[in-house]
Symmetry: C2
Subunit: 579 residues, 2 copies
């Protein structure tokens, strides 16, 4: 084997002229990454430097194993919240066990992810429907926002559920520190203003649309630097809470000690974080791949995220995944390849070595404002409206997952979501659509009698079953069939059109056999038309085809031709052949 | 309202000449019911008279509310096993709490069942696929047989799992009581012989096939009476274990005291017993209804079983449901209506008042033999072979449920079964069948190019998707679509035939929109054909139809006609209209 076999694909195809674009993109993303790393570490209940540690090696790990050219991996809000939720049961925030737990959690999530990638389990992302993912992320973002109201206004946060935290925050409002409240609210106003109005403003000022969008996205970094400068100048650090000491220098490398009583309770949360981080990241990477016309490999994504989390753990960081906001910045700044991630990691090393001191004076209220504004973006109101309008079931699944997260927390919420995904699937296929059909005059096409002007034949009933036949819907099909026969009392030939039936399971087959016998005794013949190849193959392994009172027709048209000619003979009392 | 509105339907239609048949059927079923009631009470870990109590009022309750004309309700093996399993966690067999628990369990199961019937939740029976029910019953029957080896051979039974019980029974074998072993094994041999050879023997002796079958079925009762006579004559009761004292007289009526610490842990088991008793009973009643051309009402069945269990509880009995073996006897003996059940209940009152003394001398080993032979009948080896041959997935679901019951017990087993039912459903629909199709020459029909000799057009690709489009299969569909386009590089027009697509969920719609845009950039138009009415209605609520690069065709044939004519124009570089 040649050494180049071990190089990632993108590196083999790398062109020298890309390096400029990749470096610029790396610079811009790093400016966004530093404040987000600090903010999401705080959200996870961890000291700020853990967030910085999680922003170096994971970028390299993803670049080596992942398949997206612009995905930016690192700390993200939802995974930070899930980390806090997972750790809350094993230790108090700020304790050594809590920090060790976060590092173990990243290792476990990384191991799960990497293993799933090696086992080619990328199809796992199909476990969750889009409305459910969207409901989950919206719910988690709402939880995050509610949790940040306290730090934003300078009131203590307390309470077990979203509702209690909200209530408590407002109860404490009269005791808030006025300076903190003022800084927090004006930061929030500035960020919201920048999000809504800055890009159009800059475009009108003469910038290109792309550059304007990019600058508007960097507003949080500008705000953070401005707040730090003001804190220095006005000596705010004596009156308000700031980030405080951040140890400078590189992390110590090494695997955490996997103590059983810390590790065991984190196994399930780690699996959930691996799955959810993957699903979230994949949908971001998928969007880029479509825009860039690239092929995405779900299994490579799993390995990339797995490597990122394992390396985060080895360097003392917490769980990471692809970030929506930073990926957008990285792409808009013109990243050509994962090399921009590796360059960004190098820049983060410089930050860790020389610049941590700057961020020590950052007011927590400003950090809270950046978290809130980033999270607002994750609440998918438009998606809910679209889903609701397109399909109530999807809308309900999304709302159910959203409420599940708010009322029972992130882990129960995702369980509820998976349950709802499948419940909707099962509910839909247990209520099959069945149409009485007739022939469109002048064609060989058969259509629903209720929607088209079609021709039907006396004594001949065509039913089209629009669903595969399973244990969960065969009762409904049987009921409908008998009620249609009651409405068409003269029926002597019943043709089931199986053009939509892709599978018939054992339970359904048994019931069909009973129906066939039952109709036989009532002197009604049962025919099948448009049976698909795989279904016919399988039916021929049972006794059903031998017992069938009627015939199997290639098409409904042929069935009509054949049965129409047989019918009058019987009606006139003649024996076949006498006509 | 007239008083007759409150009478059951069958009573309003009752004809006087039926009474003879119903009385004969009642007599015959009672002869079967007495030993089974004693045996299944023992199986549930209850004193024998509780079994007799559960065999009086439940028959009346079902007759008043149920809808089957010949179903025989009362103690059955699987429900007795589930009762023992549910009670094992709250009290020791034989204690007062254990007996009270059994009565509470019947009340709860009855209340659940009746409430589900009133709420018209009969469709709940669709929760379980036939292979899973069959796997469950086979597993429970195997558990029962293993548990009866001890009593049969006269060795003590001990152990938590089926395997340990089996092992222990054989370890203790050298210490078995020889007389018990001899009685047990010869009873078993006689019953098996009667089952396999008695009916043909009697037919050859001149009896009608029906009478021969009926007599063969009554073999257990003959054996029981013979064993009792021998025990009296040879004074075996000093050397072997017999049923022992059975209190004579009617039960005291009244509701049990619902103590919270007894009731709460029984809620879930009661729900499972209600659900499983219903599913089992419904399949028995369904078979009779089909044979007799009657309509069965699933909700009336729920109410009937609910009333039966509530009345069982009120009269000090345990949980009941429809019995396969006794229903068969009742039907073969010619029962015309549920009145035969009411007459049987009257006969059971006579047994309770005057005949309990007889059964006190019945050897337990004989009872064990009758339980084993009845249970062997429940193990559905043939069903497993048929399922396996017809559909591996069904076969695996059945085997999984069977093993789940054996390894983890009845309650976990049924959970595994429901899980497997839905897992197979989801697994099947996440692997959609997609066919490249072409037109059968001389017809308007399109068929799979791999199975038929069909005609295709250059630049024109027809793909038929044989499954509704959901979040769980849209990735697979997308992958297949792109790989077919790679195999047909000249494709300019892609027609998706949606004849089998009954629903497109929000996730799938979003991906289709992306595919449409993606193909648009590659200069491939996306068309739809044979879209069903409900699907089109729903699609028109989204932006998809407006964005679609191609058109929507009523049929594949029309699509081919239209697109075949457009194609050459474009190939020749002409603009539309120039031709």
């Amino acid at each position: 084997m040649r050494a180049s076999n071990f190089l990632p694909n993108w590196l083999k195809r790398y062109r020298a002229q890309w390096i400029g674009r990749d470096t610029v993109a790396a610079l811009v993303s790093t400016m966004m990454l530093v404040p987000q790393a600090l903010a999401y570490a705080a959200l996870a209940g961890l000291p700020p430097h853990i967030g910085l540690y999680a922003s170096v090696l994971p970028l390299v790990g993803y670049a080596l194993f992942g398949s997206s050219s612009a995905l930016s991996v690192g700390p993200v809000a939802v995974i930070a919240l899930m980390t806090a939720s997972a750790l809350s049961s094993i230790a108090a925030p700020g304790t050594a066990d809590y920090i060790t737990g976060a590092v173990i959690l990243a290792a476990l999530a990384g191991a799960f992810s990497f293993a799933m990638g090696l086992l080619r389990m990328g199809a796992l992302s199909n476990l969750l429907s889009h409305p459910v993912i969207s409901g989950f992320v919206s719910g988690a973002a709402t939880l995050i926002i509610i949790g940040q109201i306290g730090p934003l206004l300078g009131v203590p946060t307390d309470g077990d559920t979203a509702f209690l935290i909200l209530l408590h925050s407002f109860e404490e409002l009269p005791d808030s520190r006025p300076l903190t409240t003022a800084i927090g609210l004006s930061s929030l106003a500035l960020l919201l203003g920048a999000r809504l109005g800055l890009a159009p403003l800059l475009t009108r000022a003469g910038l290109s649309a792309g550059a304007a969008r990019l600058l508007a996205r960097l507003a949080p970094m500008v705000l953070v630097l401005g707040a730090i400068a003001l804190t220095y100048l006005l000596e705010w650090d004596r009156k308000i809470e700031v980030v405080g000491a951040i140890p400078s220098g590189l992390p110590e490398f090494g695997l955490p000690t996997f103590e059983w009583q810390l590790t065991f309770p984190l196994l399930l949360p780690a699996l959930i974080i691996a799955l959810l981080g993957f699903v979230e990241s994949l949908s971001i990477a998928h969007a880029i791949a479509l825009r860039r016309g690239e092929r995405l490999n779900a299994n490579a994504e799993l390995r990339g995220l797995g490597a990122a989390n394992l390396l985060s753990s080895v360097s003392g960081g917490f769980a990471v995944t692809g970030s929506f906001a930073r990926t957008a910045i990285n792409e808009e700044a013109g990243a050509k390849s994962p090399l921009s991630g590796i360059i960004a990691a190098g820049l983060m090393v410089l930050v860790l070595l020389f610049l941590t001191g700057i961020f020590e004076q950052l007011p927590l209220a400003v950090l809270a404002a950046t978290i809130i504004v980033a999270s607002i973006n994750l609440i998918d109101v438009r998606g809910f409206i679209l889903n609701w309008r397109y399909d109530r079931t999807d809308g309900l699944a999304m709302a159910g997952t959203f409420l599940g997260v708010l009322l029972f927390g992130v882990e129960a919420g995702i369980g509820i979501g998976i349950g709802l995904s499948f419940a909707t699937l099962i509910w839909r296929s247990s209520r099959p659509h069945i149409a009485v059909v007739g022939r469109l005059p002048g064609t060989e096409q058969f259509r629903n009698v209720l929607r088209h002007t079609v021709k039907t034949q006396p004594g001949l009933l065509f039913l089209r079953i629009d669903e595969s036949l399973f244990f969960s819907n065969i009762s409904a099909v049987e009921d409908r069939l008998l009620s249609e026969l009651k409405r068409h009392v003269d029926t002597r030939e019943l043709v089931l059109i199986l053009s939509s039936v892709s599978r018939i399971d054992g339970t359904a087959l048994e019931r069909l056999q009973q129906v066939n016998r039952d109709l036989g005794e009532r002197d009604i013949r049962l025919h099948l038309a448009e049976v698909k190849g795989p279904v016919l193959d399988r039916l021929s392994r049972s006794k059903f085809l031998g017992d069938l009172t009627g015939r199997i027709f290639l098409s409904s048209y042929i069935a009509e031709l054949a049965l129409r000619h047989e019918e009058p003979q019987r009606d006139s009392g003649q024996l076949p052949g006498q006509a």
